[in-house]
């Protein structure tokens, strides 16, 4: 019984892994933005990233 449950669990893990790989999942934190205006192409400064002014590393040991 335990073996069958583990087999089912393992199969679910592998199916999940396959979906993740096929669909190109990632552990990275990425913000999705809809409808970015075409004007950004000509005026990159008009786009404001949500990651602007992010706290930056100030350096070294």
């Amino acid at each position: 019984m335990m073996r069958i449950l583990y087999m089912l669990y393992g199969a679910a893990v592998l199916v999940g892994l396959s979906i993740a790989q096929y669909q190109g999942w990632s552990l990275a934190r990425v913000n999705e933005v809809k409808n970015v205006p075409r004007s950004v192409r000509d005026n990159p400064g008009s786009y404001r990233s949500v990651y602007s002014s992010y706290h930056h590393y100030t350096g070294g040991k």
Partner: protein, 439 residues
């Protein structure tokens, strides 16, 4: 834990008897087969082979102190054969000054003879005498014996004394008599040897659940709860551990096949490379957009790699991967920093001059990157390369999947090991000794 001495059964007879000590009526259930009979009233041990029932010994005991769970005279079915409980004794061993007592029930069937039930802390064993001697396995530590092809590992040797008796016995029972008892286990079985002088008697016990004993003898109520782990108690995980690891091996193989399959089928292809520089001393708008590039195939990830010439500096890059047609953007920031030096502890380094990130679920289409670098004023010029790769296998998921597959197998193995640890903690060979054991 062992059952007592043995006498072949004869044809049963019944006879009306009275105790010569107190005159109380004796109930004799296996007359010709009993060697000693114990009077329930005055606790006289009588010679059943003597027509006058000579008193062999008298002992003092509170009658109600240690009543058998299965009353004498109760009939039940063990392994398809009807048996009657005819005798009961308590035996005790002393280990490091602590007394451990167990109970033995003598069962009798006029055609099958005697068998025994033992009980310790709610753990039961169905015991019978061996018809052949076990073979001692040479040079084994701990000692082992072999019987009918099965190897039994030594568990404990102790001096056991009889501390209470009731009913009939097919041997010369005495309160206070002691024998050396050695137990060898191969769950759910146990082989026990009892040595008195040069005479050794072997018996085999098989673990029984209390509820099965209650069912066999149709006893009212419920059996006493089993405490702890008994020497030959079968592990609930026995057999499961091996099968789980075999299943794990199969799943691991499937994982490797998947990994190879995805590695071979992944595009893993550079779709864009750009070379840039950033001068942190320069004021004004630093953001810019790259040329557009084609991202092909099904919805998958793109990996964005940043390679810099940083040296004791940092740079922060706000990236937006923008679909030229739909306006959908994947917005993220990456900090790249690399510091190194030398101090009293020696040389040190932190971070890396390069960075890679996988952007998930990017549909096919034409894209461009908006890049906005930031850095501390005064750092000067930083040269960096941005590379975009389509459909890159993410090995972190394989590691997560491996961990997820390992977890149940490790937990089950740990539980099985804990069970065995508890089993052997009470033996002469504890698995982890705190006082210098031999294992």
């Amino acid at each position: 834990m062992s059952a007592g001495g043995r006498t072949p059964p004869g044809k049963p007879q019944t006879r009306a008897l009275n105790c010569p000590g107190c005159g109380a009526a004796l109930t004799v259930r296996s007359f010709n087969n009993a060697v000693t009979i114990v009077c329930d009233s005055c606790h006289s041990i009588l010679d059943a082979k003597d027509p006058n029932l000579q008193i062999l010994q008298q002992f003092k005991a509170a009658t109600d102190k240690d009543r058998p769970h299965i009353p004498l005279g109760t009939r039940g079915k063990i392994r398809g054969t009807d048996y009657e409980v005819i005798g009961f004794e308590r035996r005790t061993i002393h280990v490091e000054g602590v007394a451990y007592s167990w109970h033995e029930y003598v069962l009798f069937n006029p055609f099958k003879g005697f068998r025994y039930l033992t009980e310790y802390d709610g753990h039961w064993n169905d015991c019978s005498t061996l018809k052949a001697l076990p073979d001692v396995v040479s040079f084994s530590s701990p000692p082992k014996v072999k019987y009918l092809g099965e190897t039994y590992k030594h568990f404990q040797t102790a001096r056991a004394s009889t501390s209470f008796v009731l009913g009939e016995f097919p041997w010369q029972v005495r309160v206070g008599e002691s024998v050396e008892v050695s137990d060898y286990v191969s769950p759910p079985r146990v082989l026990s040897s009892e040595q008195t002088g040069n005479e050794v008697t072997w018996s085999m016990g098989e673990y029984m659940l209390g509820r099965d004993v209650w069912k066999a003898f149709r006893l009212p109520g419920s059996p006493p709860e089993a405490k702890g782990v008994y020497e030959n108690q079968p592990s609930p995980m026995s057999g499961e551990v091996k099968s789980i690891w075999l299943t794990f091996a199969f799943l691991l193989l499937a994982l490797v096949v998947l990994m190879i399959g995805f590695d071979l089928s992944a595009q893993n292809k550079d779709v864009f490379t750009g070379y840039y520089k950033y001068d942190s001393n320069q004021r004004g708008e630093a953001s810019f957009v790259t040329d557009d590039f084609e991202v092909k195939g099904h919805t998958s990830n793109v990996e964005l790699k940043t390679t810099t010439d940083l040296n004791n500096r940092w740079i922060y890059l706000n990236y937006a991967l923008i679909n030229e047609t739909t306006g959908q953007a994947f917005d993220f920031g990456r900090e790249v920093s690399y510091y190194h030096g030398y101090d009293s502890d020696g040389s040190w380094s932190e971070g890396s001059a390069n960075d890679a990130v996988a952007v998930p679920g990017v549909p096919p289409g034409r894209y461009y990157l908006r890049v906005e670098p930031e850095g501390d004023p005064g750092h000067g010029m930083t040269y960096y390369t941005v590379t975009v790769k389509r459909d890159v296998p993410q090995y972190s998921f394989y590691a997560i999947a491996l961990g997820a597959l390992l977890l149940p197998a490790i937990l089950l193995s740990w539980r099985a090991l804990s069970f065995e640890h508890l089993r052997w903690a009470e033996s002469d060979h504890p698995m982890i000794s705190t006082s210098g054991g031999d294992e």
